[in-house]
Symmetry: C2
Subunit: 264 residues, 2 copies
């Protein structure tokens, strides 16, 4: 028996989110069903986070214990053969026995796609938000710049547990122009519930001159309330979950050992 | 009553092709249903061509006669409000009373997307073909170059009518690298049934060194048969249908008039 880590990609359109629920199609549900066909007997896989209904992923991380006696690539192939077409295992790795995809994560990276035209584009509707009128790029870039750093983001989302901390650290946030639209990328230690979609919604208001940068700044600096609203789930993709590099972990533990050992 | 021209975009995934059929969902079916809600009483809309099941479009052209007494943009808005999310009217124009989207077309442009990686990408599976092993770019580009010009393409598809001509003219054909994959674009006066998907399939074989350029050339030059096979429909998009510019038509007819008129 060993613990394995999966990097999962999925099109969230036809799923009621990640988390298993009775009677509805969820990513966790289909992954667990595939694992059971490989004689997995666990109760529940672990994941880096629960994406909402309609949210996509190219780098969701899951973990589970399995007795697998064949080469690792065969586990990936077997799972991909068993999974429906809207989910794929991008990578399988052996993990430490106590690896937890959520608690061990150092950071998460999300991407949000907008496209700017008056008429909806049926080939982008599943993965992007149609925003019209178009967005003023300079203002968008300025808004994203305000997000970097550690802030109380309570104006932008709610903590996973009631009365939990609303302090989060954003490492990078930015907008890039792409395919007659804009893509927002944000990396942070963790995010409040709905935080990325709310940040996108409010920055789109700013880019359309319907909200001022100073109101946005006041919400970041002193939690001044902002108009309600969320960008639709379909534009959002969980891109990557970051963990300490294995070498780094080793170096750290060497360092700790060194420091507690009596010097000779 | 006037004739109108629509530029249509659709995600072909959930349609059994363009052409109306009893009991199945087709693009023509849903567009005609939307028009009927606007009091259209025609029997059938005209189109530039029938895309197969799963093939997408960003520039399909349709035409119909309608008694519409409001501004043109309101016809577009009304249709977009009535159409399902996987079809959109990108443009509405008034057309000549005898405009026919198929017979008047000078050329068609198609795009085919491949992505090259070992594991399927759920977010690209609807609109691209996963090709693995990857493709040798120089050979692809060379293969596309062989297509340009007028050739008997009978090794690559069948004519719309039995014993019809298999001579077609390719104006441009080329491959571009994009997003860890390759995109093929081809513009020609018209295409045989399945011709674009077959050209893609065979060029992919060439790019994987499973078919030689000289066999491909022999099929173009002297209709030497090639291994059977088609690229999947989901990678294909009808991008544009080209018509004579209105000014050009006028100039042409002036010229003709001038040439037959007796000189003073």
């Amino acid at each position: 028996m060993a613990r394995y880590q999966l990097i999962l990609a999925y099109d969230g359109t036809q799923f009621q989110g990640f988390q298993r629920q009775a009677y509805t199609r969820t990513v966790q549900g289909v992954v667990e069903a595939a694992l059971r066909q490989l004689s997995w007997e666990g109760r529940s896989i672990l994941s880096a986070g629960r994406t909402d209904t309609g949210v996509h992923a190219v780098g969701q991380v899951a973990a589970f214990d399995l007795d697998w006696r064949h080469p690792l690539p065969e586990l990936q192939n077997a799972l991909n053969a068993l999974l429906p077409l809207d989910v794929a295992v991008r990578e399988v790795r052996e993990a430490a026995a106590d690896f937890h995809p959520r608690y061990d994560a150092l950071a998460r990276r999300y991407r949000y796609r907008c496209y700017c035209q008056g008429v909806r584009d049926p080939l982008r509707e599943r993965i992007a938000w149609k925003v019209w009128p178009g967005l003023e790029g300079d203002t968008l870039v300025e808004a994203a710049g305000l997000l970097q750093g550690s802030h109380d983001f309570s104006a932008f989302g709610s903590p996973p547990k009631p009365h939990g901390s609303t302090l989060r650290t954003v490492y990078t946030a930015g907008w890039m122009q792409q395919d007659s639209g804009w893509v927002f990328e944000i990396q942070g230690n963790a995010f409040l519930y709905h935080m990325v979609r709310r940040l996108v919604y409010l920055q789109v208001l700013i880019g359309q001159e319907r909200l001022t940068l100073s109101d946005f700044q006041a919400a970041i600096d002193r939690q001044q309330p902002l108009p309600p609203g969320l960008a639709p789930a379909r534009g959002l993709t969980l891109v990557e979950v970051l963990y300490p590099a294995p070498e780094q972990e080793e170096q750290q533990s060497n360092f700790v050992e060194g420091s507690v050992k009596p010097s000779p």
